[in-house]
Symmetry: C2
Subunit: 379 residues, 2 copies
């Protein structure tokens, strides 16, 4: 696959609202300066109309494609981004940034609070999906892009896409929300809440003040394990693991007996090495508070917007079920938007948005070609 | 409802295999003496052929009906057991016992190990659903019952019912497995495993040796929260909670914002008061190890059995989905058993087996009447 790769890439950083200027967040609280980590692939054309913004999910980062120097594994959506891929870097200028509140270079709870010279921890303010999108808009301004060809993302990335449609419709030509929702349901909130509870129940969490000491690794690992169950499907788990037992010669003491247990523990332990527990709390909270219908009528949600929309969902995704995607399509139709809906027949569950890249490539390629052609016409 | 109640009841205790005699468990390990807590409602008739055994689920106990002296709340299946109820105590003799490994009077990890005079903790041996059923058979022997009119139970109770069919088919006239499975799936194992992980990640767990000190309350509470999400359905959560927020005037520090969060925390905290964390580990492990098809062909699973079977499942139950119940029915049909299958159209998810008592009453009443009439004929 390396021949179709964007090759070696580097994360860049953009800082705005340097003191004394601070950015006002949706909550009313102020935060600043804010740094946003981002990567770009491909080249911005002369018309500056070939830029596509990729929004990542809960545990993602700015490194969506290519390889960091010395790394064996490419970015998280490398199968979709590169020469002749869905987001064809020979044609498009692709941008991906780490969300506000994250821990991969953007300002988040593990960043140093300039007022105290210590990590923010829980002094970090409540952030929302809208705040994340506002930071992305700052980045787009900085990059000199007036109008994005498209905004794309799955899961929490899809929430950002929908927020772009509502907050900055004049700045986007099209939108591709994948496996996402207009508002988090009680079940989605509940799963995030138990994840937060496992983190906060960890003795090492210390009300968020664990920096410099032991992080709440066990709690965060279990939170991630819960996540992984919800990202897979009953069928995909059965196909992947069955009831296969691990070889184990120790006496019985609740070690992992089944392959599925070993897999979850492995994924949980791995996550801890690359993610900050407080970021996990803040970002999941932003997802839970996401509700585009709060104070808005679905009939008016997307009114007056001209962007083209393609909504994608996956049949076996029970965490972000297809009925939620259909609700997005309904909101588009009610506003007279040109909206396409595709339900991909996958058994991978919610993970499908990262795995069904062949189907997605097919859909995205055609959709973008149409949108780009139209935008060039207008240009 | 009190007029249809069995009234004030008392838990009784039956101890068998007193030292030096011990009971051999399925694992090959020995345990003894074993005490089983049980309750009975109604009267055993002269023919001793009106006895029904109720098997409880993960967090249940022997107190299935009526009121303990001074209690406001009745037993866990009171809506189903009593005069003129589904399990009509004017007609039937109803027995319910706490499972081996439990913490409500039956021998479990919190019991005193006679060899050390300390609680067993993790010295307690691995137990299985078959071991639970073997203890129930000892109790039935002790009560002088040759053949049960029926064995009934939902969820883990249903696993015990299926184990009865395999282990002691000659001792039962009928069986009603509800919302259960022939074997735990990887998804079911995974949810139990994260529950165990939250318990074991709790600083207070101390490899099971917390007796006499602080129990791993936070870990167990979160395990229970995870359980509750899986017991409900996406729809039932949406109907019960929506996105209603709790009144909260404190500054934002990850307290429960949504009703659903408050509910889960409440249920989690309550569970800790009444359940032993090590019992949670052992019992969930017994569920995960349950696999009637291990080393058996589905064609022969119930071969030669004459018991009548009624299988019940619930449409919105995604933890024990209907396809698992249909698999039970298939095994019955392959063995030529008289088996009925009823899928109740409920939105309550897995909890439905405790909540859809009206529908269940209808089904159980007719089924038992038919079985009892036939057994009297034979008698």
């Amino acid at each position: 696959m390396k021949e179709k790769s964007v090759g070696i890439v580097k994360t860049e950083y953009f800082t705005f609202a340097r003191p004394p200027k601070e950015v006002k967040l949706e909550s009313g609280e102020k935060l600043g300066p804010i740094t946003i980590a981002y990567e770009t692939y491909g080249r911005l054309n002369k018309n500056r109309d070939n830029a596509i913004l990729i929004a990542h999910a809960l545990s993602g980062d700015a490194h969506a494609a290519g390889f960091h120097e010395g790394d064996k594994n490419p970015g998280w959506w490398d199968a979709m981004i590169g020469p002749a891929k869905a987001f064809d870097t020979d044609k498009y200028f692709v941008i991906c940034s780490n969300v506000l509140g994250g821990c991969k270079g953007s300002t988040g709870p593990s960043s140093i609070n300039p007022k105290t010279n210590k990590p923010y921890a829980l002094e970090f303010p409540l952030i929302t999906i809208k705040d994340m999108v506002d930071c992305q808009r700052e980045l787009i301004d900085y990059l000199g892009i007036k109008k994005l060809l498209s905004v794309v993302g799955g899961s929490m990335g899809g929430m950002q896409v929908l927020q772009w449609l509502v907050s900055y419709p004049e700045r986007i030509n099209s939108a591709i929300p994948i496996a996402t929702t207009l508002k988090h349901s009680p079940q989605q909130i509940a799963f995030n809440e138990v994840g937060r509870q496992t983190v906060m129940a960890d003795h090492n969490w210390k009300a968020g003040n664990y920096y410099g000491g032991q992080p709440p690794a066990k709690g965060l690992a279990v939170a991630r394990m819960i996540g992984h169950i919800t990202y897979m499907s009953d069928i995909s788990m059965a196909e992947k693991f069955g009831r296969v037992k691990k070889a184990n010669k120790e006496p019985f003491k609740f070690t992992a007996d089944f392959e599925v247990e070993g897999y979850l523990r492995y994924r949980g332990d791995n996550f801890v090495k690359r993610f900050d527990a407080n970021s996990y709390l803040y970002i999941t909270k932003a997802m839970d508070n996401f509700d585009l219908l709060e104070g808005r009528d679905i009939h008016n949600l997307f009114k007056g917007i001209s962007a083209k929309v393609m909504v994608i969902s996956f049949k076996s995704d029970w965490l972000y079920p297809s009925y939620q995607s259909k609700e997005i399509v309904r909101a588009c139709k009610l506003a007279g938007l040109e909206a396409t809906y595709c339900e991909i027949d996958s058994t991978y569950g919610h993970d499908a948005f990262l795995l069904e890249t062949e189907e997605e490539t097919h859909l995205v390629t055609h959709f973008l070609k149409k949108v780009f052609f139209n935008s060039e016409d207008k240009g």
